[in-house]
Symmetry: C2
Subunit: 473 residues, 2 copies
Amino acid sequence: MTADAADARDPIAGQPAEDLEDIALRDDYALSPKFVAMVVDAADAGDGLRLRELLDALHPSDIADLMGFLSPDYREEVIPWIPPDQLADVLTELDEGVREDVLEEVEPQALAEALQELDSDDQTDIIEDLDDEQRREVLAAMPETDRAAIETSLAYEEESAGRLMQREVVAAPLFWTVGHAIDHMRKPDEDLPELFFDIYVVDEAFKPVGAVAVSALLRSKRDTKLADIMEPVTEIEVDLDQEDAARIFEKYNLISAPVVDAHGRLVGQITVDDIVSIIQEESQEDILALAGVSDVGRDAGILGVMRSRFPWLVVNLGTALFASTVISAFQGEIEKLVALAVLMPVVASIGGNAGTQALAVAVRSLATREVSRANVLRIVWREIRVGLLNGVAIALLLGGVTWLWQRNWELSLVIGLAVLINLCAAALAGTLMPMMLERFGRDPAVASPVLVTWTTDTVGFLSFLGLAAVILM
Amino acid sequence: MTADAADARDPIAGQPAEDLEDIALRDDYALSPKFVAMVVDAADAGDGLRLRELLDALHPSDIADLMGFLSPDYREEVIPWIPPDQLADVLTELDEGVREDVLEEVEPQALAEALQELDSDDQTDIIEDLDDEQRREVLAAMPETDRAAIETSLAYEEESAGRLMQREVVAAPLFWTVGHAIDHMRKPDEDLPELFFDIYVVDEAFKPVGAVAVSALLRSKRDTKLADIMEPVTEIEVDLDQEDAARIFEKYNLISAPVVDAHGRLVGQITVDDIVSIIQEESQEDILALAGVSDVGRDAGILGVMRSRFPWLVVNLGTALFASTVISAFQGEIEKLVALAVLMPVVASIGGNAGTQALAVAVRSLATREVSRANVLRIVWREIRVGLLNGVAIALLLGGVTWLWQRNWELSLVIGLAVLINLCAAALAGTLMPMMLERFGRDPAVASPVLVTWTTDTVGFLSFLGLAAVILM
């Protein structure tokens, strides 16, 4: 069952596309390359009927995947053949970059109609992506109530619980029985969510005081009081960051949660299907940030990709050149003993590696709230000890290899000490940088990698060449 | 509402701990450092009653978090005071390393009793973590039916849908009406899940043919046929990898899905709360793997941490020493022009950086199935162009800086060309390595970083020093 009932294909109509459905998906429900090739062939042939037939065989989520696989030219060819009744669901499933492309091709009137099939959170999500003029046209073509709801929603900050929530909830007063609640839900004209998992019990001020799972409701007698079967609710404040909201869902295994305003009044709900996307997005952001790729969002073209990476390459160029100035201070030593030049990148490289390890662990611990002020010292102390232990082990190994290679035990001593110093620096920098950034309210994954590399490069070259100057010269 | 009704605190009993509950959690539902300090104080004072009072104020998920924050000594102090009726839920929420510690402290009999409150997926999850002897004792203390269920579950492969699923489902034959289904669920002696979101409609062979959301059931008239309101189901095969199952949930926004055996018969269900943990785990694994941290799982001590990092440091030492042998082939050139030693790390460093960027993007695209055979060539071609563009831009920048610094235009040419070559190598290696690993059924995030760094170090030093030997000497 989908979280969004509107997602579903018609289960009854025995479509002629039955065979196509088998071809379309692999066992793991990924689109088959064969099917994508069939779409490309149909588009090449300009065969609209065939395209419609192929798209009819797909779930809206699969059509969204297909759009991602196609190049922009083919995408444009295919868009007009998306079944109108699936357009809304396809749009909610599209990646942002692709969605912008698709939205440009759709008429405001058709879009306004499609949007009315969606819950308010999905409506807002799509409206956000329109440019100003398109947004005005689409909103004008929507009914007054929907328009007002979307405008309220857009007034909440981006990435807040308010933006994420849907306004449709099932609320029941404290004095109701199970029977009351069921009769209320059966009224056909109520503006209820498409699908829901909990009903919220509210007091006279519309503040949530408890929740009843729909399955618990189903299993209770009609004359049971809601107050007797409700369970405590975990409220989410409307201003809360979506990442914090996701963490609360994870922690308490929530399926849905009520969203309340500053006065504690129920204003909407967040359901777990939206949270799944947030969790996915946030950890992807961490992976990319740690690799020095900025989120440029909207633009998926070559220039967009370049723009997401070039700035961090330039910053890295700066830190690398800084390391070069450190090296250049020791040109005299290198001229005397060229083995220093041969070996120095090893010290910097291992340091960078160890720093990246500590950094990834720290960022991960911060993200899952495994680190807090309650245990930060214990974590840092653990990292220092790990840095020392690994440092000693690697120092012995590298010193040994160096002796075998260069037969110079002083050089072995120098490189061993340097790598030990650098691994401790790596442990400290990798652990403290993200914690400091978090403390100052910044994203711990962004900028940390550069700062850590800068530290390990500098300490690496400085300790190795500096010790060499003192001990060997 | 929690996905696991047994999680809930008693909403009625007005506990004296009311104030403690306010102190315990911050606004974002994280444990407050103040509260953790209160627990530590009580443990220091050996004040068992106070510990019990403090723990009573917490949700099982918060007790689990608390365990993570405490050092092993304090943990041991606190464990006996966990309320027995919450023990089962605390255990399901604990991180694996901590859970092992806690399980060692609990009597088999108490554990067997606690386990009986849980659905079969959570039971299996905990039983897995016991050592052989403990497992035998606990299983012996459990009722025959539970034992058989757990043993069946353990027979499925680790990280498969079969391990993840719970055997408790609500199934209804095709000819039933809504009224039949509701009456069935109200029978008090049925072994139904604690909480459920969909009921599965099955044919005579117990194969799922459709699903009805509980909220849809509630909103339909009693004489409606299930066949008329059911929607298509997305089945999950019992052998499917849990990561693939998670991807299916995400793609189709599922809340729950039926699990079927090789004959297509319904054997259990997976619910989204389990999927949320999987998604979190899998992306954490990617972050750590990309940083060269192995998953050593169980052991959270210093040696465990060291063991998760040391092997990759040694591998990195190997690749760094390989790069040194490349450099050592050019010792003559470096002696003649020591500026080569000063600048060569820059070429390797920028290459490594660009390779990491391409790698993270590729791993992310593979994880979210944005890349498939249908579009792999388009993705690789995009990366090559991005590598070329960034390469030209960085080459001009670095060539310019080199000229300003060294006033040697031939050296500028050499470093510019070398960095251009290395950025193209980085784009290719960063994109192709993970794709090749995936093609051969390996985890694309593991080992890729080392291979990419090895490539960019080697190509960086070789192209810079090699071009220098040809052009400058």
